[in-house]
């Protein structure tokens, strides 16, 4: 890079600046999306809470419109709490994904900053000496340390050679290249919170409200509470609690519904995969 012509260096710097500007725009987009989703959850949650507070005191178990509204609001509140918790959890873990697929890991960013500060405080040693020791070691010895007697297969040697060529093409030192490979491996095994997760989070309060209604139907229909009388009585507060739980733990509730369906209609097995 240092030996490159000036016009080439300028071009590279311009490209780098363009990439950074684009990435900053995508980060801003993600931050706005996260803030907007949090605002949406807070508004929906506050609305559900106010509705619950207004309805709870005056609701009798024979007033079905009010009881249904209560369970709907309870389900929405439970799902909103769950969605907000998910966003907060992701904030805490600090793993984000930009719209172009770039993974941003806050711990990685912190370690990168720490590395830069360390390198700034400790001046570089003689590069020539490092370069020579780098050249003395063969790629095979470097990448498979501690296995002196073990012979590598042709395939493994080819992979090492390909990696070495890629490292040279990227202009990285071996340590930097190892860090890059580790970041790539890390990225390949995980996903980050991105704007693609927002539709699901928007859907969650609606889904919670629907499950709250299902819990209400279960109570009123006598499926959840067995009663000998023709007009079963139930506590609206208890129904609210069940509806909130149904919204908060939607996957568990749906699995329980599935088991109940099996109990009513008998268990069916999924058809075998098509050839």
């Amino acid at each position: 890079m240092s030996g490159a012509p000036i016009y080439l260096r300028r071009q590279l710097e311009e490209d780098r600046a363009a990439v950074l500007a684009r990435r900053r725009a995508l980060e801003r987009q993600l931050a706005i999306a996260v803030l907007a989703s949090c605002l949406y959850f807070v508004l929906v949650g506050a609305g559900a809470l106010v509705a619950i507070l207004l309805l709870l005191d005056h609701t009798r178990s024979d007033d079905l419109v009010r009881v249904a509204s209560l369970s709907l609001a309870g389900g929405a509140l439970g799902a909103t709490v769950r969605a907000l918790w998910e966003v907060m959890d992701t904030l805490e873990r600090g793993r984000w994904e930009l719209a172009d697929g770039t993974l941003i890991s806050r711990p990685l960013r912190r370690s990168s900053q720490a590395r830069q500060e360390y390198l700034r405080e400790h001046p570089a040693r003689e590069d020539q000496q490092l370069e020579r020791s780098d050249q003395q070691a063969s790629p095979e010895e470097d990448l498979a340390p501690g296995l002196p007697g073990q012979r590598l297969s042709k395939q493994e040697l080819a992979e090492i050679e390909a990696a070495e060529q890629e490292r040279v093409a990227l202009g990285l030192t071996r340590a930097e290249y190892e860090l890059l490979r580790k970041a790539e491996e890390d990225a390949a095994q995980s996903w980050g919170y991105s704007i693609y997760d927002l539709p699901l989070l928007i859907l969650l309060p609606l889904l919670g409200a629907a499950l709250g209604l299902v819990a209400f139907a279960g109570f009123v229909g006598g499926f959840l509470v067995a009663s000998g009388s023709s007009s079963p009585s139930y506590s609206p507060t208890g129904l609210l609690f069940i509806a909130a739980l149904a919204g908060m733990f939607a996957p568990n509730f749906i699995a329980a519904l599935s088991r109940a369906a099996d109990a009513i209609f008998g268990k069916t097995s999924e058809p075998p995969p098509r050839a």
Binding site: L157, A158, E159, P199, L213, A217, V220, G221, A261, P271
Partner: protein, 172 residues
Amino acid sequence: MKFYYELHEPELMQACYDLERRQVIEQSWRDERRQTSIALLLFVPVLAFVLAASFHYLSARQVSGYWSVVGVAVLGGLLGGVLVSLRRLVPRLRSRLAPPSFTGSLPWWLLLGPLLTGAAGGLASAFVLITQKSGVEDFRPQTVYLIALAASIVCSRLLPRSMVATTIEAER
């Protein structure tokens, strides 16, 4: 990055090919995520409609007439279809898919398949209820709704297994 210059060494060419393949799979998975995200967005108006109509029917003590019973049962079936569809779509969003599960376009069959099956299950349960009671009598909408919901969940299991996304973890 393309490795055109390794053709003389088969193993090296294979390793380069694997590297490129990994990049392509990564990009394809991101495209799948985007498509699934759009599909989930399409569910928002559907679920809002089902919720509003369900609230209207479920807050009544009784319903009478064929169309009301069919309406309640179809709504229950549609909700079951939405639940099944979401259970199949969410793994596509949050887990690494195996390449055979990549579609490259909006997964319409994951949207419409469970919804239609759910509605059909709801209709079937309404038919059974009406014929068993032999006439237009008063039904409890809550009971009809839950029976239709359960029927739609059971019916949706009859959908082909190819509609279920295979994740990398499941493959292992």
